[in-house]
Subunit: 305 residues, 2 copies
């Protein structure tokens, strides 16, 4: 279950051409946004999905995944691109936009359970029956390595950044990036909603522990505990953990639209919220890169909430 | 009134740091989108506005502009950034989103006239009274040179493109880019809505002629004739002129959101519509860059129309 810097580099080779090299926008001197919300399927999740699927020998039954939405969309997208059958289990909290998107990608959908963990349990049971390849939303080595490909890409594009701000739900993206930027001198600041502090609680407890899941970003960051792999990597990497309020996330999302014409979902605006609200204050001259990680949202809400 | 390649390069120096270097996204091999809708004020227009204002000795009365909206937003943005007073005249067709944006930038607004030309006439009369510096929406050398800075920037970012597709209203952006890419071997394809064919009609007539203004992109591409400067440059540069239907523009805008999470206004999707609808068909291996030029739109309409 261990993942290394080299696994991230191998994943980058494996998924090249299947995912987009999303652009970076410098909105002010030293403040770069990594526009990963422009990625295929509307979030970073295709990086891990392609890496997991392309690393495996595929069974007849295809792939199966459980997801708050973005991971499901990513697995459905990758499966369609590779001509593989996909079954996606999503919790009932999932937004109609995301469910419609999944159906449009040709996946078979089962909507079950109040939160992510319950949908995941149902998917695992189904996988045991059919033999389909499980693609976990965050807690698999190939998934973490795939998400991590964003890290070296960002360093190349920015010519090195002092700090990367990234949101955490299950921790796949953050831990992948931590591995991906190992040795570069780039620090990681992981940002969580106050109402879903999976990593924050784990660091305090010394191990992944369940947390209450609520708030505006619950449909995408609503893992009830941080992944084992992510915890091992992030607790060892000395990352800084920062919490942001739902109000700060809403304000950041509104600013991304009003000032920058960037459409982001709430989870996608969480890392930017840390900067905008002052939850993280860069040093003088510090070069900061902020990952905008998803845009699977109803655009009608961009101005209002 | 003549403008040169060197004027574009000088403009790029002049406005550096005032405008964003907007990113490029390669959505498929050989198809790059220049995401100029992420520019300050939501469109390319700040390039010309900053260049015009920074080239002049400013009168007490500040600056004045007439605009279908985007140019007004850009002049208001640039004036605020430079601490200059701005008066903006906009036609009655201007969307409420754009008027609200203008007010938020601190500009004094006068909404008058059914179409752009009438608002422009009123602004010219007012400028004669107050002595304010007129910033034209397209037909001034400094404005054309400023918009043209997008051209060399795009060539740098793409490592050269065979073809640039760009929308035309008054022609400031297209003619500026034509000057900016002079000598690079890059061809220009200018795209207009069938219902506002200012350049198409001018090329047919041998001079700028008035056209009827209607359709989905009228609030941004609704100049009633192409600019004199733009006509001289574009008619001499051997550009290819392509028309697209309103239906094609609507479909392209919807695709930009649904497939790429890019929010564009109708005018901003016009160039992409030429590619998507087959109005322009690239050769095998041709590297195409498409300018997405504006996003000042009600996001609630991104999915629907």
């Amino acid at each position: 279950m261990s993942v290394t810097h080299e696994d991230v580099l191998a994943a980058a080779e494996r998924i090249r051409g299947h995912v987009l090299r999303t652009p970076v926008l410098e909105i002010a001197p030293g403040v770069a946004l990594k526009l990963e919300q422009l990625q295929h399927s509307g979030s970073f999740k295709v990086r891990g999905a392609f890496n997991r699927i392309l690393s495996a020998t595929l069974p007849e039954a295809g792939v199966i995944a459980a997801s708050g939405g973005n991971h499901g969309l990513a697995v459905a997208y990758a499966a369609r691109a590779l001509g593989v059958r996909a079954e996606i289990f999503v919790p009932e909290v999932t937004s109609p936009v995301k469910v419609a998107g999944l159906r449009a990608l040709g996946a078979e959908i089962t909507q079950t359970g109040a939160i992510y963990a319950e949908a995941a349990e149902a998917a695992a049971k189904r996988a045991a029956e059919t033999g389909a390849l499980e693609v976990h939303a965050y807690d698999q080595p190939e998934v973490v390595a795939g998400q991590g490909t964003l890290g070296p890409e960002l360093l190349e594009q920015t010519g090195g950044a002092d700090t990367v701000l990234v949101a955490v739900g299950g921790g796949g993206l953050a831990s992948g990036i931590a591995l991906g930027v190992t040795g570069s001198g780039t620090r990681l600041v992981v940002v969580e909603p106050e109402r879903i502090p999976t990593l924050h609680a784990a660091l305090a407890a010394g191990r992944p522990v369940p947390v209450e899941v609520s708030g505006v970003a619950a449909d995408a960051l609503g893992a009830s505990r941080v992944g084992e792999i992510a915890y091992r990597i992030l607790s060892g990497a000395g990352v800084r953990s920062v919490l942001v309020s739902d109000e700060a996330i809403v304000a950041a999302r509104r600013t991304l639209w009003a000032q920058h014409r960037i459409a982001a979902e709430h989870s996608g605006a969480a890392a930017f919220a840390a900067l905008l609200s002052g939850a993280y204050v860069p040093e003088q001259g510090e070069r900061v890169a902020v990952v905008i990680c998803g845009a699977n949202t109803d655009p009608a809400t961009l101005s209002s909430g």
